[in-house]
């Protein structure tokens, strides 16, 4: 776990997804380094419909590896504005670049003050 990284420029949820605020006020959402390691190599991502709304803590996507199917737990309530179409043919981006090219979706958050974790708190959670 020592090699895994958790950038401090974003917020985290106990469901192992992150949310990073864009300059335009929308939020980019993806899975954490810990999540991608636990999943193993991702072979398929079942992404949500643009326009769909999810409450914080609900599953918004299925991420499938050869060994497991995992639900992606949305870190903030909001409406899906865009999904990462690159994941359709290259889902392994979730493993190779979980904080960059492997982002899952762009979100219009209902309330950015919803409870989330900073990087240190998330790391502490993983140590429990």
């Amino acid at each position: 776990m020592a090699d895994l990284t958790y950038p401090s420029d974003r917020r985290y949820h106990a469901g192992h997804l992150w949310a990073k605020k864009n300059p335009d006020g929308t939020w980019l959402v993806g899975i954490t380094d810990f999540a991608q390691q636990q999943l193993g190599e991702v072979i398929f991502v079942d992404l949500p419909e643009v326009g769909a709304h999810f409450d914080q803590g609900k599953s918004c996507a299925d991420i499938e590896s050869a060994k497991v199917v995992s639900e992606a737990i949305i870190p903030l309530s909001g409406m899906i504005l865009k999904v990462n179409e690159a994941l359709v043919n290259t889902p392994e981006l979730l493993n190779s670049d979980p904080y960059g090219e492997g982002w899952l979706l762009r979100l219009a958050a209902d309330d950015a003050s919803e409870t989330t974790l900073d990087a240190e708190a998330y790391k502490a959670l993983l140590q429990e």
């Binding site: 193993g40 190599e41 072979i43 398929f44 499938e64 050869a66 060994k67 497991v68 199917v69 995992s70 889902p91 392994e92």
Partner: protein, 274 residues
């Protein structure tokens, strides 16, 4: 058509399939579903809707692809190779529990397919798997042959309802004489369990429903008429079904009451993981 297999490491059921294809002189390409990602991942993305996982989301292997059909799990694949679709009703998701294979139903074997069914069990047991065989009272003569050859490590005799519901639930009628023989075989089997299975089924209107406690009681009377033994050790077990809420142990208490009116030793049994 070229045959492609997707297999795993230390997979006895994958070895069974490879050896069977080799014995038929059929060539195939085999890829490890975790290591050979360039082959497996595109296949998975193209066929994932047709593939299933177990309760713990594990992918069942081996997977067979001949360019026309995709079959998954050693039971389903062997049944297909032996008999096309004729044995499809006998084979369900066979699970991935190490060393065991389940969801093989002797009672659903169509007439004329007995030898294929037996061959399938022979291949599985010869390959080192322990077969958990399901029966529902029908086809006792085939069940007897299976037991005689030692092809089932465990037998689950599932009483699916009273006689009048058997066509709807099991897909065919059950006559008392066959039930009597099947009960005797289950009692003589080394590891035989007789259970009244509260399973979902589609009624004549096409709606999904479950056996009611009263119907379970009628099933118990049907059993008693066949075996004339009120002390028959029998269990009551719930089977999960898509679209219906799972039954908890306390939900089965009314079933037990009705069944015990006839079969006094009836007990509730929790589903096993295999």
């Amino acid at each position: 058509m070229p045959i492609t297999l997707y297999t795993g490491k230390n997979c006895a059921r994958c070895v069974i399939l490879k050896e069977y294809l080799a014995s038929r002189g059929q060539s195939f390409a085999a890829y490890d579903f975790q290591d050979d990602k360039d082959q497996f991942n595109p296949f998975y993305r193209a066929h994932r809707a047709a593939l299933h996982r177990d309760d713990e989301n594990r992918l069942e292997i081996p997977i067979y692809d001949d360019g026309v059909v995709v079959k998954q799990g050693i039971g389903e694949v062997l049944a297909y190779l032996l008999a096309g679709d004729a044995l499809a009703s006998c084979v369900g998701t066979t699970g991935v529990l190490h060393g065991w294979i389940s969801n093989l139903n002797v009672s659903a074997c169509p007439a004329g397919e007995e030898e294929h069914f037996l061959t399938m069990l022979r291949l599985l047991t010869k390959g080192g798997l322990q077969v958990i065989l399901d029966a529902d009272g029908r086809r006792p003569e085939l069940l007897e042959q299976v037991l005689k050859e030692g092809l089932a490590a465990r037998l689950m005799l599932n009483i699916l309802g009273p006689a009048e519901l058997y066509p709807a639930i099991a897909g065919g009628p059950l006559v008392p004489g066959d039930l009597k023989k099947s009960i005797a075989l289950a009692r003589s089997a080394k590891d035989g369990v007789i259970r009244i299975l509260v399973a979902p089924y589609r009624n004549s209107a096409g709606e999904l429903e479950r056996l009611t406690p009263v119907q379970a009681g009628a099933a118990a009377e049907f059993v008693f008429e066949a075996c004339a033994d009120r002390m028959l050790p029998v269990f009551i077990e719930a089977a999960s079904g898509e679209g219906l809420p799972d039954l908890r142990e306390q939900d089965l208490l009314p079933y037990r009451s009705k069944v015990r009116n006839t079969l006094v030793k009836a007990e509730i049994r929790k589903p096993e993981t295999h």
